[in-house]
């Protein structure tokens, strides 16, 4: 077992453990903080995968913006957060079975695939992932359309969210 594998296993354990806490803890602020631990773990995974840009973006976007928005929203709707009553639906055990079956199904499906236990190839020398990404994002033969559509999507989200949340009484 190599050093990288040990780091991966620790990270995976942290991700799964904190994800379980996200879905099971009663206090919603704690759930949001556990979500941050999960997201940070995923950022570490990106770093292991040599996707530096995505690792940093994960922290900037998820922890710096999305998690903050979650915490704000939880505090704005806090009267319901006093942990009275059950936090889970009545049929939660059924849902647990569905989740386990989903995992089993995915695992079974993936196992039959030939590329399942592939190893990673080395990077070609002088490989610059961020520069490549930039070129791919704006070159007409690359992903210029998804790139622009993403910005329109975010604009639409801004307009929609503002319209919904911001009603003067």
């Amino acid at each position: 077992m190599t050093f990288t594998q040990i780091i991966f296993l620790i990270t995976a354990a942290v991700i799964l453990g904190s994800a379980l806490m996200v879905v099971s803890t009663r206090n919603l602020v704690h759930a949001a903080l556990w979500l941050i631990v999960t997201l940070f773990g995923v950022a570490v995974l990106y770093a292991i995968l040599n996707a530096s840009f995505l690792a940093v973006v994960q922290v900037v976007v998820y922890i710096g913006a999305i998690a903050i928005l979650f915490i704000f929203a939880i505090m704005l709707t806090r009267r319901e957060m006093l942990d009275r009553g059950p936090q889970l639906n009545r049929g939660w055990w059924l849902n647990a079975i569905i989740a386990v079956l989903t995992f089993g199904g995915l695992f079974w499906m993936l196992q039959g695939w030939s590329g399942f236990s592939k190893a990673a190839a080395d990077f070609p020398s002088g490989y610059d992932a961020v520069g490549q990404l930039g070129k791919a994002l704006v070159s007409p033969t690359g992903f210029v359309l998804p790139f622009e559509v993403a910005s329109v999507l975010l604009l639409a989200a801004l307009v929609g969210a503002v319209y919904v949340a911001f009603t003067r009484k």
């Binding site: 799964l16 994800a19 879905v23 889970l88 386990v100 992903f143």
Partner: protein, 102 residues
């Protein structure tokens, strides 16, 4: 080194946990937390396919970025809806927001 299967199994497990959260939590904000977990599981898959495939093809990373945008929009609109509902109905329990049932 680490085989691709490890990442795929991890992301499948994360996806299942998120699915459980979405299906079982009563609080609408907590449901959105579960959706975030599922989106992250998808992203792990995309990035690991980029790394284990041909690294000069940036599709994996580009789509991971698009997923970031989608997650951000989803959170913005979703939480705005939750807050709006909370102001009108004074609850964020998903079962009790049932005006649309009839």
């Amino acid at each position: 080194m680490i085989p691709l299967s490890w990442y795929l199994i991890l992301s499948a497990a994360l996806f299942s946990i998120g699915l459980f959260g979405v299906l079982s939590r009563r609080n609408a904000v907590a449901i959105l937390l579960g959706i975030e977990l599922m989106l992250n599981a998808v992203n792990i898959n995309l990035v690991s396919f980029w790394r284990y495939g041909d690294v000069s093809m940036m599709a994996g990373q580009v789509f991971a970025i698009i997923v970031f945008a989608v997650a951000a929009s989803e959170v913005a609109v979703g939480l705005a809806l939750v807050i709006s509902v909370y102001r009108r109905r004074n609850t964020v329990i998903a079962d009790e927001i049932d005006l649309m049932k009839w």
